[in-house]
């Protein structure tokens, strides 16, 4: 608790938190006094915020009266930068959105550009995209559940799960050469095919991860302390969840069976056999259960992908979109010209606008791209799944204790890189 700054109320009116530096006379930690109110500043650098964000809590005793989230500490202007980069160059920026599952952002973005181009990628590329997406979903849920448990005080579960996350990152390193900032996809396919040794390690991971998920469930699911800390905390009705724009595990925990992989299938998700776990109350415990079950379902999908993976190309056979193979660039004039044209002039984009959404680990990750036919997108918008979820934070923690606010924040899985863009 040492990084929580506590100050007693002062006799000056509350001001906008951001204006404290400019006005100087009044700060956010001061508040008009009536009774025993206290302002507690959670963040911007606090172990439970997992990223730089700040929540100003107004307390009476230990009960939260008001929570004012403050964000923008990680705002890098990704959408602005996208307007000056070519479509291909934007991919590394998507890594930095939800950095716990960057491959899913790569997949979501390239799917949007492919929708704009109106192309379909080869089957093997689709399967590998599904494979790495589900691996990333597991990694993301491991971080969310494990860290949420740590915040609440259950350290062991975190360690059991994090071993599996290491394996996922080893797999990403094999495939993309990078553990975190993968940049694995390309418009029209993938950076490269998965290497030898990927599938055997993945097979081993399937077995070990299943066991780890079971172990974690044995530690938490029937643990009375875990129940005390999570049940009924952050409960939300399905109507409110939809009204707030919830998506992903948080929406499904509230009882709305909305999953874009089933509802609006992409990348051939309709051909895989998997279930959508749905909760009833939407509280932290339900969100935990939904995430645990989703990890199992993701393992099921990965198993099916491995079973049907067939050799084939991983990029579209269109030299106006995908770069030709290097050996051809060095030996054939045609390929050299295509390579040069693609690098220097970019792709020929149609004029138009598309919105494409994929089911990322946190919920609906949407990309809205407006093209004027130029080399760069005219406007590129990222619809982050956790921004609408985070906007409900005040309603979620009103009347709770600070410890509950920490539990709710963890279960929302707020990733500041995606929140602030």
């Amino acid at each position: 608790m040492d990084s929580i700054a506590i100050s007693r109320q002062q006799n000056s009116p509350a001001t906008g938190p951001r204006s404290e530096g400019s006005t100087g006379s009044s700060s956010a930690t001061r508040h008009a006094s009536d009774g025993d109110h206290m302002i507690v500043n959670l963040g911007p650098s606090h172990p439970t915020t997992h990223g730089t964000l700040r929540i100003i809590l107004e307390l009476e005793g230990e009960t939260i009266l008001k929570a004012t989230p403050e964000m923008g500490y990680l705002h890098r202007g990704v959408e602005k930068l996208g307007e000056s980069l070519s479509y291909q160059q934007f991919i590394p920026l998507t890594d930095r959105l939800n950095y716990c599952s960057s491959i899913m952002n790569n997949v979501g973005y390239t799917c949007a550009v492919e929708k704009l181009l109106g192309i379909e990628i080869p089957k093997r590329a689709q399967q590998i995209r599904v494979l790495v997406s589900e691996l990333a979903r597991i990694a993301d849920h491991i971080v969310c559940v494990g860290v949420n448990a740590v915040d609440i005080g259950a350290f062991t579960a975190f360690l059991y799960l994090f071993r599996q996350r290491e394996t996922v990152y080893d797999l990403f390193e094999m495939a993309a050469g990078q553990r975190l900032h993968t940049s694995f996809t390309r418009i029209g396919g993938l950076f490269r095919d998965i290497p030898e040794g990927f599938v055997p390690l993945c097979e081993r991971f399937l077995v070990e991860c299943e066991a780890s998920v079971d172990e974690c469930e044995r530690l938490l699911t029937h643990n009375p302390i875990w129940h005390d800390r999570t049940k009924g905390i952050g409960a939300i009705s399905p109507e409110d969840a939809v009204n707030y724009g919830y998506s992903g595990p948080c929406l499904r925990a509230a009882g709305v069976p909305q999953d874009l992989r089933k509802a609006q299938p992409y990348l051939g998700y309709e051909t895989y056999d998997f279930d959508i776990p749905v909760g009833t109350t939407g509280d932290v415990f339900d969100r935990y259960l939904v995430r645990m079950e989703e990890m199992r379902q993701s393992l099921r999908i990965i198993r099916q992908v491995l079973d049907r993976l067939e050799p084939g190309p991983v990029n579209v056979d269109d030299p106006k979109i995908a770069l030709p193979p290097k050996e051809k660039v060095y030996t054939r004039m045609e390929s050299l010209i295509h390579h040069f044209k693609l690098i220097m002039h970019g792709m020929e984009m149609p004029v138009g606008e598309v919105y494409s959404a994929t089911e990322a680990a946190n919920g609906e990750l949407g990309f809205y791209i407006v093209s004027d036919g130029g080399k760069n997108p005219y406007r590129i918008r990222v619809r982050p799944p956790c921004l609408p979820i985070f906007s409900s934070f005040h309603d979620q923690v009103k009347g709770c204790l600070i410890a509950d606010a920490v539990a709710v924040l963890g279960a929302m899985n707020i990733i500041a890189g995606e929140l602030d863009r």
């Binding site: 923008g72 959408e79 602005k80 307007e83 970019g346 919105y355 949407g366 906007s391």
Partner: protein, 172 residues
Amino acid sequence: MIIEHIDAQLPAAVTDRHDFRGDQTIVVAKANLLALVDLLHREGFQFLVDITAVDWPERPNAEGAAAAGRFDVVYHWLNLASQERLRVKVPVADGETVPTLAGLFKTANWFEREVFDLFGICFEGHPNMKRLLTWDDFPGHALRKDFPLDGGDPFCMEGCTAPYNNGERARG
């Protein structure tokens, strides 16, 4: 399907429409927005996915013109029952306000704040029209096309007039 319902119940509200790669888009005037939103809400479009804006600095910026204005405010709706998506665009001139949807959709609260922050479009009736991502006295609005790409000098800028890339976008 929803477009036929809109045409039937709000005739002449839709000033333009197109369908590109399966994305249905309609353009409505600002005055018809609230009536349309009410209709959409009744028709099952209860999931407001996103609100954003697009800056078109070359467009005529006449106040009150029907289909003109510098900005497009872009709304994305999803019907959870039928999984139908709809994009609604509202042209707005610089300095004009748009009615807020924060009363009907709680998710609009922060999305509208973000649009205000990055484009400088005000939403009328919004409960808390403050910047979301940048700080309160940040000069200018970052996603406007005339805002410099390098951020200019945000700490002691005299207005944000520096053109980015000499006012031209790189083209292929």
